[in-house]
Each structure stands twice: as C-alpha cells, then as structure tokens.
Symmetry: D2
C-alpha cells in the first residue's frame, strides 16, 4: 500500500488503469513560479505513445494530457498539480478471451494473489499505460531542472537482443537519439536493431534490451547517505518501470573484476578550480552522493511478456491447463518507447534530491 | 535528508559514525510478542565483523550489540527497539595523514560538497561500520519472517574478480556458505577465490565480485504495484550497501537477449493445487509482486576503494595535487563480509512488505 | 510541501482550487473488495454543498463526483481511487474587485508570502471548496468502517454564537441532526440558532460556533503511542478544516479544574466480560489509544472571514490602506455545512489507524 | 505503528521506556554546521526533571543526556544525532503492587488491548519520561531557530484548577516564568497556584491547568495548505504530550461567539513597510500559514491520573473489581514541568516547517 507515490518532496502520485476512466498524476511539492502549460508535456508523451512507428504496437491511446489544477496564469502556484488523460480506446471486449487465463510473465496472477480479485481489462493497474503519468510528471521535473540548474537527462537504446552499440555515452545527443526509429544514436546499430525488431515482430515474438541513462549538470552534493543514496534511488526508479530486471551504474557489473587501483577515479583540480576526477568508473556518484561528474547508468529490459504466439498457462477459476492465444496488438520491443520513461524517472529522482538538499543545507 | 530510515512500517533508522560514540538503529513498528535477546543478533554480527579471517581487515571493532528498549521480559513490546554498539577501537590518530586528502573513490569529497564540512575520522557516516546496524536490525527481521511465514534469506559469493561459480542457487545451503572462508558454497571456486584474494591482499590492492541473494518461502502477493515494486525495493536496498554498483533479478541483464516466447514462465498447477511456474526467469516477482517462486537476484560490488598502494589525488584545502599513501588495514575483498548484509537487507525489505500487505488485505 | 496528503496507510491526497479545472482526491491504500459507486458518496456531498438552505451561501457549485479509477465491476480493486469533481460555476470575474486586496483574516496575504504569487480567484487552494474532496474520501472511509467494524461517525452543531445545547452526545441521532436546518439535534436550540444566523446574515456579518464529533464502535487498541496518539491525529484532522481554531476531547478545557480523583474514570467489567469505564472523562482515548468507549470531542469554528460589511485592509501592490467592499455570496455561519466535514475527517483518521493496527498486530 | 517519529524533514524518532535501558531520540535532518554540545541541552532537561521543587514528584531520574553521534569537533555534521539518557533509578519493585491492576485513566489497559502484552514497570512507553527525549531534541531545534531566524519559543502556566492569570502573553518573559515555582509569570497568581498545588499534594490528589505557548519571530509563509496547516501541526504536537486534552489558537474557543466583523484582523502596513494586522485574533496563523504575527495558543492539561488516594478498578487477569492503592511519588500538578515540553514541541514543529518551506521556495 502507498506504493503509488514517488518522491519525498517532489511527490508524484499516479492513478488509473489501462481501461475505463482516466490515468494521471498529482504532483505535490512543485516549486511555485514555473511557467507551465500542456505544451511542455505533450511532446514527451508523444515520444512514449503507442502507434508512433512500425516498431510499436498499432494500438491507439488518447495520450492527451490536461493540467487541471496547480497552475494559474501560466505559472505553477506551489499547490498540487493534477495531470489527467482520459482513456478512450477502451475496448475491454478485446480482453474477453483472456478473462480467465493467467498470461505468462504478466501480473495477472500476482495481482489476484495480492488483492483477491481480478481486473482483467488490459492489465489494469499493471498496464504500461501507467507510465504515461510518469512521463507527464517527468516533463515538469525536466523543465524545472533545466531552468534552475541546467541539468539535462537523456536516455538511449544501447542494446536490443544481442546487438550492442559501443558508442560512448558522452557523444550522444537528443537529436541523434530521436533520428533513430529505435532511439539508438548509432546509425549502424540502429539499422540492425530495426531489422531485428521487425523480424521479431513478424514472428509474433518479443525481444529485450538495455537502455543507457545519462544525467549531466548535476552539482556535487545531491543524494543522501545510507539508505537513500542517489544511485539507490535511481535504481529503484528504474526497476519500478515495467519489464525492467536490472540496473547498474558506472562500471557496474563489468567493474567487479577490476582491481581497486584500476577502478578508483583519481581526483584532480581542473583549470577553473573545480574538483573533478580523471575518469568516471563511479558513474557520477561517490558514497551515494553526486560528485559533479556525469551520471551514467544502464537499465535492463526483459522481452515484453505479451506475444502473439500461443503459450501454456492455466485457467484462473478451474486451475486447469489452458492454451493462451496470442494477442494481435503488442510491442515487439518496448525499448524505443521506454527511452522517455527512463528520462522521466531520472528527472523525478534528481528533482526530489535537489529539494531535499536545499531543505537541509541551502 | 531523512535518508537514514528504511521501510514504511518496519522502520529502521540507523545512526553513528565509524569513530566516537556509538552506532546502531531504532526499529519502529516491530510486531509485539517476538521472543528476542542479544543472542538472536550477535551471531549475524559475528559474520559481518572485521578480523574474522585472513581475508578481512585485521582491524578490530566492538561489534557487541545491546538492546536498550522495546523488549520486556524477553519479548518485543511493539514499541521502538534501540540497538546500540559502542565504538571502542577509536584511533582517530590513524587518520591524521588522511585529514586533508580526498581518498579516491571514497565519499570524502562528496560529503564535503554536501554538508560543507568534513568528518575525516575513518569515513564518518560513510563508513562500512554503519552496516553493523543493518545486520542487527536484519537479524530481528529474519527471526520474525522465519517464525511467522517460514521465510529464509540466504546469500553467497558467486563471483570474485573473474572467478565465477555456476552453482545453481537452489542447491546452496547456509552450511555450505559458512564452511567457505569467502562464503562461496562451491568448494572448488572457493579455493580459487581465496587464492586470488590473498594475492590481491599481498599486492595491497582490492577486488570486487558478485553476491547472489535468495529468498525462499515468500507467499504470492507481497510488493506494491507501480513505484514500490518488490524488486525495485530490493534493488534499492542492495544498491544502498556500500560499494554496490549493480543489481538484477531473475534473468536480469542476461535475459535481455532472449525472446519473449523463451523468457516467459508458463503457469501450471502443482499437485497440491498451488499455482506455480515451470521455470523462474522472473526471479520470483511478476509485475512487482511476489509470485510464490523463490526470489533470486545478483548484487555487484566494486573493488573497495581503500588500498595500500599510493594514489594520485588532491588536497582538500589547497586543491593541489597530492599523493595519498596507502592505509595498512583494509579488506582486499569486501564480499565475504557483505553476505550477511545482503541477507539483512533482504529480510528488512520483505518484512516491511509483509506488514504493508497485512494492513491492506489481511 | 507535501501538505496535501492525509494518512499513512489510507492515504488521501487532495488537489484543486476554487475556480478553474477540478477538485478531488486520490486515495491510495483502500482495501480491495469494497462495493463502491458514486451513490455512496453523493449524499455526503449534498450535505456539504452550498445553496442547500437559506442559511448557506446561495452560490452554486457542481459538487458532482466521479470515480475515475480504482473500482472495477462495482468493487474497489486496492489500487488508487481517483475522485474528481469539475468546477463549473467559475466566475473569476466576480473576484476582480478583490484582485489586489488582502481580505482580512483570509489566506490571501500568507499564500503570497509563502509562494511569491497570488491566485486571486476565490481563495484558490485555500477555498473551502477543497473540503469537497475530504467529504468524498471520507464517505469511502465511513462505508469501510461501518462494514468492517460497525464504527459510526456523527457530528452536530452544539453552539452557534452564545447559543449552546446541553444535549448529551449519546442521545443524538443522525435523523435528529439532519432534521435541523443548522444540524443541531436539539429542536429548541436549533430554532434559536436559525434565528440568530438569519439575523447575522441580514446584517451581512458572520458568526462562529462549536461542533461535537462522536465516534462509536471503535475497538480498544487504535492509535499510536507518543506522537501519533489517536486524539492528536483527530485534533490535527479537525484543526486542518478551514476556520477551525480549537479542539478538545473528553473533559477537554473544562476538565482542567477537576481533581484527579474526580476526573479519573474507574474501570469495571461489564456483564459481557468487556472492560469498560464507569464514565468517560477521557473521551474514549487513554494514553493516545482508543479504550473502546465512545470518542467524543469538540471543534471550535471562528466566524467565517468573508462578510458583506466593508473592512479596512491594504492593497497587495501599493501596500496602501484600502477599503474592501463586502461580497454578496457567503455563508453567515459555516457550521451546518461543516458537520459532514467533521465526520469525514473523523472517519479518515480512524480508518488509517485501523490499518496501522492491523499491520503491526493483527 | 511508526508513531514514534515527529516531523517530515527535521525528523525526531524517540525510544525508551520508563524503566530499564535508556530513553532518547535520533534526529535525522538537522542542518550541518550548528555548534552543539550537551550544555546546549542539559539546562532544558533540568527544567523538566522531577524533584526540582516541592511541587513535583520527589522521584529522582538520571536526566543526563549524551550526544553519541552526528556531532564532530563541536558542530553538527548533517548526519543523525543520537541523544541518549540511561535510566538508573530503575526500581521495578516499586510497581509490583500495580502489576496486575489497571490504573484508572492510565494507558495500562489500552496498551494491553493494543499489543496483547503488558509492560507494568512504571508506565513503560506511556511514561512521561519519554518527554525527556522531546525536550532534548527541542533544545537543538530552539538553538537552530534562534540562530537562523531569531525565533523564540516560550510557554507559561496560565491556569491551575480555577486560578487563572489574565496577564497578556506579550508581557511575559522567560525570566518571569522561571522565577515562579509553578512557571506562572504573574506573581500574585503564582503564589495562589503554589498554595493550591500544595494543598492538592497534601490531599494526595492532582489538579490540571492550562499552559500558554508563544512563538515570536516566525516569518510569514511557514505552514502548508490543507492538511499540514501550521496550527494543525502545532495542535497535534501539543495533543501528543501526556495528559493534554485540548488545544486552541488565537481567539480559540472564546472566539466562536464573536461576529466576523469583530473577529477579523484588519491589515495595515507598518512604518517599516511590513504587512501587519492591527490585532491578532488569528493567533499568528492565517489559512494555516504563519502571518508574521506572534503565534499564541493554549494547551489544556487534565489532572494527572496518578494519585495517592485509593481508587476502584479491575484486575488485569481476573477482571474482578479491585482497589488500587495510591502510589507515594507523583506530581500533584504536571504543568510546571510541562512548560519546557510545550516549548520543545513548538520548536520542533516550527523548525520542520522552516525546512519544508526552504525546500519548496527558498
């Protein structure tokens, strides 16, 4: 319970299911005086929305957001901001055939185990449609961070299946990311990834991958010692995105086989007198607190569970074996659409820690 | 701020620095009526404490815990439990040579950037000594979970440097783990790891590795949709441990290259009528909620930053380049001592979600 | 910041201003399986809404609530419930004459001091319209408490100006309350109060009063030691209602002049073996924890600040003295409409502590 | 559960029972760089401690506080501060005669109902000894507020039994308060109160009263709209103190019979250009947010439950009627010792809202 809120001071509470009613978020704690209207948000939602390319589900969703409180005469007032999108592609009939089956690797069964009842329309609250609210809230966080601190969050697809780009994160730009259908800024790799996803789509199957997140401009000093270390909070933020199974920062899993003398990042003073490190195995966080270096992390996405192929499962009521027939509309690879979600969760994490730091030591 | 508390309902607040005074924890929200005394806690602390083998730092610490409130006539009362250990190997003099230098890949600089002052004794609040409090609190969580739900948490060293055991997590027992100096339950791999760590120690260097965490007996239904997904909370818990740079669950980073049809875990009904899956790529969590299958995850530890070799850095005051001379007492590989910490954080995460579930739907 | 959420486990976050957009609440943590539709909520809103009698403001508001998430097939699902009412009597033009004046004893100035900007429509977030959301959320809490524990919350007007009824709280029924235009269950006193309010209204003035809250059926054991004592939480809940300036419980302010030997409530065992007290100076709470006796408290409301008479104030921009001209539409006495708000906040407080107790010791 | 923490950003968690072990607090979120040592705290504890005059219990308690973490070289570091006092007048034997009886108007029964077990030593966690931790934490908050904002908290006894001073709160000084044995700054009233308490003491009885709290120097803008209104938080803080049954602010219960035209506080601009009100019926808070005027409130204390007279009650085990024999050592009137507790809770409330405001809009 109470798992629908993110952040201590920039507090985002999301609501809504995949079908019926509305989805959205209430943001409590946004500083007053930020210029804001729906146009600040909609472009981010368009990056997330289904049907944007041949690689995503053809399902149409009404990803049109409305700001229904907390803004007056074009500025945030400091009071709660309601962001709301009404659902209007509600075709619960589509799901009648799934009503009594547990879809493998979906949350159908675990929700039932948790709540004792079953919302079989789409995935109910477990639907990826919930991430719309995150992206909308994240757009506000992004704008605030850019304006106040010059912080930029960026994400891109590094890997799809076994295809990996070795592009250095520091060379990536938003333009390069957005010019790729899969949001991989390496044109060669991008082309291969598109082919792979198309063939996976045609098989009626799905494939996973890795997204890299990068945050630049974070001043040294954000993050809290002990439990709320900045990378622990970032990790939680990323792991809370649907289909994410892993997170690492800086050298991450690859760094475990290095020696300390190789792994450690020596300090230097740069020409402007700022404390820097000569390299960044740390990924921008030391002892849980931002070092002023670029924050770089990786997020592992499993292949999405929804596929067109038939699968073995059981019936919810009889508990007898059953065959689940594939659904027509699904994303063969969720990564291109997940890029703005990773950016949104990055921004929500950082903005919260910026306010926390400002409270204690401003 | 407020980063020193873990959990919503089984709420652990830790305090204390590496030197001076005391370290410990206050637990608010422990159910009443649990039999508890210091002997329930001390064995776990002994697994964590320095100086326990030739592979760990020879530094001695007074890891003797005292329960100073919240227990009456041998049972928890439901009121806050104070766990406290006094520091008595306080030799701040040892650190005089480090007083003005930023140790590479330590938190010295970031703490200074955050708070505007510097506690140069040991690592102050960033010291691994803080984990003593986690292990102590975790011992209570473990006892509660075992008694109430039959849940067991276990961790072991899977990798040191490039040495990896391919032992199946389901075959591991506490006995096997504890019989190994490095807490690797695979005798062959263990032997090699010991050799590697000894040679690293003799070089004055350090090395990282991977710990596997396993939680058995968790009923289906724990964890919260959306932000507080069970694996997101586990991930945060693990990433908050000193030196951790990565976390994945189930198929994790390796699963991204699988197809959905291969990755998905089909449901079956077992002979006792219980809903199960035929395999466990999910790692025991579906949609953020426990499925009743064993929870299995990996935690990546970087090589510890403290080494005996000389390193380049800068002076805190002058910001001029400086050479930091190695310290005599350090762990060449933190993983053997981190095993009980991983178990403790596992138990603290699960116990909190058990209470959360009980509140909403009991 | 973060002041728009009430409750730890039954968590209500409200949003919305008096004009423009919408007002409402998100409830996170409601147990699943509660039958719920808008008809469970609307009757409570009708008790709160303006224009319901000659004693309230003639202003019309669209107090029509919609449940937009968290309910499926007529039952709560355990996921966030969005309650939303759209504003449609928005006539910001009405407030043009107030745009630059600080209304005495309103929040105009303090909001400006807090946020550095001014939402001059109605009272923005400080408007009593926000209480609509509380009443809507409270209706769900009431239904849950009634169904699960047989708990009933009731409130009534005890005092208007100097007119006081000495009716014993135990004799009051909802029917008696609702049969009175002022929601005072004592017909004699009610008649006098109506006359008083009518004359105050005709003067263009306002008057305060006292509401008594009563909660029956609360089992012994709810409430938390130390800071979250049940009556401290009830007190906060009541003091957070617009225009409330005081709260006491049981013997309250009157009890301070009694001797302990008179004030103390002796324990007895009743015929059914239940532990009771022979009287209830405590007001149903001992040491911050419910005793099983009826909870009885008083809430003091100041006269509402909005009156038709002219008043001295200053101009927001010039800071020069100004005369504020009275507004046409206001409540001469807010108490009749505040009765359902007191009941709602009572229910929200109790339901949260019920879940808290269930989590720790069920 | 989780009821042992106060504050969102200046977070105080208290622990400890009346007997055995220790009592104290952990403060998380204190800004770094505040000069602090035990001498900043001890004088406040001395004002609270038992045995300080003929009017208080002759019981001796070891109210000696130790700072065991969070301070380095005389300054707060920004990390958790452990404040701890060891119990050493532990004579549980004193309570053997009470072991099986529910003391009337004490928390014995309700704690049992809540937790299913009974800590019969003193009052366990319900003991007034817990307030030692509040006063210690409050001393830090007081120092911080004084240094950073020039805010001063002050409290005094306004009423004992029926004896009331009509002294204007603005005329009171700490010196006047401390020069009175009962902490009533009106010498005439003080003398009468002393006599009254002495006669109550000699009867073996107890008596209640009212404490006035005053906070000066609070800037306009502190407090949160809606649920966390500044006076709602102050009210909760006060109502959480043992024996408190009521709270009001500004005109409070007396103001309900005034007309709005009389009650409203007109705004003016003072000679320095500051926005002020010509009077302060509001008590320094408008719409839940501080107005810059002095905050003034009243706190009602019931007569303490512990008396020397015999009383009727029941036996915990048999549930049969029993006579409880009076205890020798008790406070006939708790108010003189409660004055520093009211000040401490005032300071803790204000300091938390100062940090909250600084986070959102600094």
């Amino acid at each position: 319970m109470a798992g629908n809120t993110f952040g201590l001071l920039f507090r985002v509470t999301t609501f809504g299911e995949s079908h019926g009613g509305a989805v959205g978020a209430v943001i409590d704690g946004c500083p007053p005086g930020l210029e804001l209207n729906e146009n600040d948000i909609q472009p981010e939602l368009d990056r997330r929305k289904p049907g944007q390319s041949s690689l995503t589900t053809p399902r149409k969703e009404a990803d049109t957001i409305k700001i229904a409180s907390g803004v007056f005469e074009g500025n945030t007032t400091g009071t709660p901001i309601l962001l709301i999108a009404h659902n209007n592609d509600a075709r619960p009939g589509d799901y009648n055939n799934l009503k009594d089956l547990y879809r493998p690797s979906h949350a159908d069964y675990t929700y039932y185990a948790k709540y004792g009842l079953r919302d079989w329309r789409g995935s109910g609250r477990a639907s990826a449609r919930e991430t719309l609210a995150r992206v909308a809230a994240g757009a506000i966080a992004k704008k605030l961070l850019r304006k106040e601190l010059g912080i930029e969050t960026l994400a891109y697809v590094q890997q799809v299946g076994n295809l990996v780009t070795d592009l250095d994160p520091s060379e990536v730009t938003t333009e390069k990311v957005e010019s790729s259908l899969v949001r991989c800024p390496d044109p060669e790799a991008s082309k291969k990834m598109v082919s792979l996803i198309e063939s996976i789509r045609d098989e009626g199957d799905s494939i996973g991958g890795v997204i890299v997140g990068r945050i630049t401009g974070v001043p040294a000093g954000l993050g809290e010692p002990v439990f709320d270390k900045l990378h622990a909070e970032l990790g939680k933020a990323m792991l809370s995105i649907n289909a994410v199974k892993g997170f690492d920062i800086g050298s991450g899993f690859a760094g475990v086989s290095l020696k300390g003398s190789v792994h450690n990042d020596p300090f230097i003073t740069d020409s402007s007198g700022r404390v820097r490190t000569t390299k960044n195995h740390a990924g921008g966080v030391l002892g849980g607190i931002s070092s002023g270096e670029t924050i770089v992390f990786r997020v592992a996405f499993k292949p999405v569970a929804t596929i067109s192929k038939s699968q073995n499962t059981i019936d919810h009521l009889t508990k007898l074996p059953a065959i689940i027939k594939g659904e027509g509309r699904h994303d063969p690879c969720v990564l291109p659409r997940a890029v703005p979600i990773v950016e949104a969760m990055s921004a929500l994490t950082i903005v919260d820690h910026w306010l926390r730091q400002r409270a204690q030591y401003s």
